[in-house]
Symmetry: C2
Subunit: 113 residues, 2 copies
Amino acid sequence: MGILDTNGRASFLDAKLNKINLFENAQMFCDLYCLEPGQEQKVHEHADATKFYFVLEGRVSITIGDDTQDVAPRGLGWSAPGEPHGVRNVGTERAVLLVSMAPHPRFGGTAKP
Amino acid sequence: MGILDTNGRASFLDAKLNKINLFENAQMFCDLYCLEPGQEQKVHEHADATKFYFVLEGRVSITIGDDTQDVAPRGLGWSAPGEPHGVRNVGTERAVLLVSMAPHPRFGGTAKP
């Protein structure tokens, strides 16, 4: 449905990680997640959806199930339905991730904290 | 279901674009598309799936519907179900794209040339 330049789209919040939606429909969404050092998305799960984190900038710690690893740009973590996942900026620089989930949880999926 | 480093995963074929699968299940797949200069994925459509191209390296021409644009790294093109899409490496360097589709067409979706 479109062609866009994601350069310059990242923006950050002091209070928490910032999610910048790039596109979405019922089948999937694609976001930029922007994390200041120390910010995180707490480990959580989606019963009915698959999700991935792809690191564009910075150094983050990704948790997928029982596995937690420090990940540099071009690192990828993905979770199957029902599998716990989370990410934390463990570096000293801002981190930017490309994040996609399918199907879109707002169109029928469920999230558990 | 896993954490992986995609650095060094790109590889190229003389004959055609090379697709490197990073992960897949019924809900989505994620690939690297690796294109030598001049290589392309011809415009096609998937009746039942959403797809995106995200440029990691190189300069490509992305077609989404009636729109065709030259795109640099961090450019993104996405197609809704039934919408024509394709990509061609119009630069002088190799191109690498992160590509994801949902749901996975092999698990029930259809592709039309």
